[in-house]
């Protein structure tokens, strides 16, 4: 049974079809949200919330775009909302600030746990506007056209955001390499400035 048929059944309230859609996408969505948030538990919760919305909003799905794009759109919107909420709730302890200063960590070896931490921290500093396309492109392997469909923006905008996001990421990693560490909760704003 293809995805379109499954979603049609979900529109009729078929929970077995819903379970099948969830089985198809749960790993991808959990991984995407994990890469976005850096928190596995939160990623799982957001993913479950994503599928709940898929179920209730199924009648709003139009088969002009692939089902995957629609599900990733819901997940991205939830992730952005969560990022905004987390930013409002953010409190920084002294210990946390010290931990962010991972001076002299090499980032040439992908197996290096320091590198993973640096990358995650660097990703966290990106504004969600840049983080979403960078994660979709570089971690999930979507094309720019697919990302444009997911975030509902023109391809040119997607290209610009990916480029600016990568640039910011590079700067943050260079800072970490130089031992300057990350500006703990200093998120790069939507204009690309810290």
């Amino acid at each position: 049974m293809d995805e379109q048929e499954l979603i049609r059944r979900v529109q009729d309230g078929d929970e077995r079809a819903f379970a099948q859609i969830m089985a198809l996408y749960k790993d991808k969505i959990v991984n995407y949200l994990y890469q976005f948030t850096g928190d596995y538990q939160k990623a799982v919760e957001l993913s479950q919330e994503t599928f709940v919305r898929v179920y209730f909003k199924a009648d709003k799905y139009r088969p002009i775009a692939p089902l995957s794009s629609w599900i990733y759109t819901i997940a991205s919107n939830l992730a952005k909302t969560e990022a905004k909420r987390a930013k409002r709730m953010a409190t920084v302890s002294i210990d946390e600030v010290v931990n962010h200063y991972s001076a002299g960590t090499y980032y040439e070896d992908p197996a290096d746990p320091g590198l993973t931490r640096n990358l995650r921290e660097a990703l966290k500093t990106l504004h969600p506007r840049y983080r979403v396309p960078v994660v979709l492109k570089d971690m999930e392997g979507f094309s720019q056209e697919e990302i444009a469909r997911i975030i509902k923006r023109p391809v040119g905008t997607v290209k610009a955001r990916i480029s600016r996001g990568r640039e910011q990421l590079k700067k943050q990693l260079e800072k970490a390499l130089e031992g300057k560490g990350y500006p703990a909760k200093q998120e790069v704003n939507e204009n690309g400035r810290a």
């Binding site: 749960k26 991984n31 479950q48 709940v52 993973t116 994660v135 570089d138």
Partner: protein, 135 residues
Amino acid sequence: MEGHELLGKMDKVKAPADFDEGAFTKLGEARRARVRRQAAFRYAFAGSAAVLLIGFVLLNVHVVNTRAVADKGPSEALANQTSFSGRAGDGAPRTYLPVLETVDYSNEFRNVSNQPQTVYILEQVSEVRPTEIKY
């Protein structure tokens, strides 16, 4: 190696084994919340409609009473009155107090003269503004 190239090599995670159970639990909760929300909306809607209806009915009763008294005319209304503080003759509460007042127009014509009136026509004769004289 660039940072974004390294991103693709980072570890991927999978959904936990109890993911589906959790999702269905959330689905059930969301469904119940939805039903509660819909019921609350229905009650709120019905309440608002009832308040509007009562307001409309009260306003209409008031308007109908006022019109009925106005249609009878002041003399009839006066005749129906038993007293200023009582009720009208038909038992309905009085809705207005008629005031009869004589009007004296004699003062209005006191200053009117029998002589023909002079009409002054004011006309602008020059566009030039008066300026200060310099010596």
